[in-house]
Amino acid sequence: MTEIAKIAIVDDEVHIRALLEQTLEDLDGEPEILTAANGAEGLALIERERPQLVFLDVMMPLMNGYEVCAAVRSNPDLAATTIVMLTAKGQEADRTRGLETGAHHFVTKPFDPDEILDLAREILQAS
């Protein structure tokens, strides 16, 4: 990681954005954390900023997480972007669909902050 890492959080719920952001601030190297409040805005943000890592909610207005994920995956410029999907508890069946659209990891909400940090470190180190 020579340059400062970029992480995007795309979720329509403000508290999830705030909590994820606060969690990710504990990462070393002070990565730049970007947020978007719906799918369309999120896709634009990802295309513009090309973050290494995206936390992507499934259920969102305008464009849901699967659609954003599929759009990101179909864009060769974004091949280096790793997508972590945020699924609601009890909706683990969403994972199959997420995998099909090209998500790499899944985290259930409410998320375990330690799990988020471990996952982010692992992904940023690999990129």
């Binding site: 508290h15 705030a18 909590l19 606060q22 969690t23 601030e25 409410p110 998320f111 375990d112 902050p113 330690d114 799990e115």
Partner: protein
């Protein structure tokens, strides 16, 4: 330390500066520092602007009495100061609100963290119903973590003595170091406390410095479930600042789950113990019922488990795929202990029937008495002849011949009664002859020397049991099935009845009670059958029979293999893996152990 630089986004501050700048007198410069980080600056003189820059004005930003940042302003015009004051006030307000929001968020994240930990722990720690496995899972939560304690141990209280016993541990030389700790006054103190705690920097403690020299910091927690103190979790570190409050909290969350799991494990173990002891009581009762089968129900499981273990270890041949897991082992042991439980309803006089005339009592004595009557009759006949002046010599000869015949007949009946040898058709005819002899009571009424029932029993050609009695004996296998199928075994033991019920079946389907064939019997059921026979043949403690030798027993079993009575593959395993020899070493008496020609039986 509060990291205020995260509280405001640099882009937002920059935009704020840009919007305000046109309102300020020309020549003004401004900069915002938060937590030692320059967030934004504006104006010609801004770079290098510091508190001690001449003419610079500093407005301090404070959170929780801590100075977290500074708005620096340098301007030729004094009204810029008013702007600075207003802007700093607004920033302070935003920081206060953000600080409050963040502390709420922090609380939420802590709950998330604990919830996630609990969710995982409940699954992990309830994975097993073995106390040692629960303890191992608990320690796994601490072993190898980046903030690791380095050492950890779980002690469980012995329910009888209440003393703490080391069950699981991790770390370099863990067993030794924790044993030393266990001997210390500090440990005794930890064991009595009702709540957990941390001691950091042990070497600096005036009270405990001498006590735990292996470690520099300790964290401990009693494992309490339903108000019962089950044991102690101890984490130890070689760093003086080994543990923080967060570590204790995390350990508390995990320990509460672990304690509940341990309690379940202990309750389960107690249930198992109780069940096992019931099984033992039944086995002991059957063994005690008859001197003919003493120790049988205790020894059959031993043989069965030895055979099963060998089948499990085989990685080629017919038992390559046979796996003896823990459930199967328990099932087999219980089945082998209970295989003859149906014998509790078998009348003892049948089980113990040593002679053909046994019926509660050996009835040979009644017959002996009748022979005695005939002897007296002969004697009376002699005296009567002498008194009538008949030919004395002839009368004496007749008397002697009569006595001789009676003695011969009685000796013959007595021998038949033992059932030790095959009784031929000619011998059956002779029994009927003897029965036709009559004796008279004092009123002159005539009776046959042997009753119909006595003739029937004496005419049994093999052994001592008549067909009805043989049926009663064989019925024990039916009773075993009936009794065992009434027990509601847990899933893990659901095969007990099948394993136990087949011990008198034969591979060719000519056994009892169901006449099942080899492929209708599970391997463990066939194992119980072989163990049953081997035990019966080699039992050293049977009355009226001297114990059979090893070679004699195996020879009989070999014939049973050739007859398709017992499972040939199991017999081969039994011989080739030396199961018989290992068992003989343990349970047979010296006179029984002779050389077994293994090669001959494996041909």
């Amino acid at each position: 330390m509060i990291k205020a630089s995260n509280y405001l986004k640099p882009a937002w501050v920059r935009r704020q500066f840009e919007l305000a700048f046109p309102l300020l007198p020309p020549g003004t410069s401004a900069a915002l520092w938060l937590s030692g980080k320059l967030l934004a600056e504006i104006g010609g003189a801004a770079s290098g602007l510091a508190e001690d820059t001449p003419g610079a004005q500093a407005f301090h930003l404070v959170l929780e009495q801590e100075r977290v940042g500074t708005l620096l302003l340098s301007s030729p015009a004094t009204q810029a100061l008013d702007w600075g004051k207003a802007f700093a006030h607004a920033l302070q307000g935003i920081l206060d609100a953000e600080h409050a929001r963040r502390s709420v968020a922090q609380e939420t994240l802590e709950s998330y963290r604990e919830m996630a930990l609990l969710q995982r722990a409940v699954t992990e720690l309830n994975h097993s119903l073995k106390p040692a496995a629960v303890a191992a899972s608990l320690l796994k939560e601490f072993d190898g973590r980046k903030d690791t304690a380095g050492h950890g141990a779980v002690f469980l209280r012995n329910p009888d003595s209440a003393s703490l016993e080391l069950i699981q541990s991790f770390g370099e030389d863990a067993a030794k170091t924790f044993a030393r700790l266990q001997g210390s006054r500090l440990f005794a103190e930890m064991a009595t406390r009702e709540a957990g705690d941390i001691i950091n920097d042990l070497p600096a403690s005036s009270q405990w410095a001498e006590e735990a020299t292996d470690f520099k910091a300790l964290l401990w927690l009693p494992l309490i479930a339903h108000g019962e103190n089950l044991g102690l979790l101890v984490l130890a570190s070689r760093h003086a600042d080994g543990f923080a409050a967060g570590d204790l909290k995390r350990a508390q969350t995990l320990s509460s789950v672990a304690a509940a799991a341990l309690r379940n494990a202990q309750l389960y173990a107690a249930e198992q113990d109780m069940f096992q002891s019931f099984v033992r009581v039944i086995a002991t009762a059957i063994d005690a019922k008859s001197p003919y089968t003493a120790g049988h129900c205790r020894r059959v499981p031993e043989i069965a488990l030895m055979i099963a273990e060998m089948a499990h270890q085989a990685d080629s041949g017919p038992f390559a795929d046979f796996v003896l897991d823990e459930d199967k082992r328990n099932t087999l042991q219980i089945a082998a202990m209970l295989h003859d439980c149906g014998k509790v309803v078998t009348p003892e006089w049948v089980v113990d029937k040593a002679t053909k005339l046994d019926h509660i009592e050996n009835r040979i004595h009644l017959i002996a008495t009748r022979f005695e009557v005939l002897r007296r009759d002969a004697e009376i006949a002699l005296y009567r002849a002498l008194a009538e002046h008949a030919d004395g010599d002839a009368a004496r000869r007749i008397y002697q011949e009569r006595l001789q015949q009676l003695d011969d007949d009685f000796a013959f009946i007595e021998k038949c009664n033992l059932g030790a040898e095959f009784t031929s058709d000619e011998q059956v005819a002779r029994i009927q002859d003897v029965a036709r002899t009559t004796w008279r009571d004092s009123r002159g009424e005539a009776f046959p020397l042997l009753t119909e029932n006595e003739v029937y029993n004496l005419s049994v050609q093999r052994g001592t049991l008549n067909p009805e009695e043989r049926k009663i004996i064989e019925d024990h296998a039916v009773h075993t099935i009936n009794m065992l199928s009434q027990i509601s075994f847990p899933r893990s033991l659901r095969n007990v009845t099948e394993y136990a019920a087949g011990h008198h079946e034969r591979m060719d389907g000519r056994g009892y009670p169901r006449g099942l064939k080899r492929d209708q019997l599970s391997i463990p059921a066939r194992i119980v059958a072989i163990a049953d026979i081997f035990e019966a043949l080699t039992a050293p403690d049977r009355p009226y029979r001297k114990p059979g030798t090893l070679n004699w027993a195996i020879n009989i079993m070999h014939r049973m293999k050739l007859d398709n009575h017992i499972d040939g593959e199991l017999f081969d395993l039994f011989i080739s893996q030396g199961v018989y020899a290992a068992y003989a070493q343990k349970h047979l008496v010296a006179g029984q152990i002779d050389d077994v020609d293994v090669a001959r039986y494996l041909g």
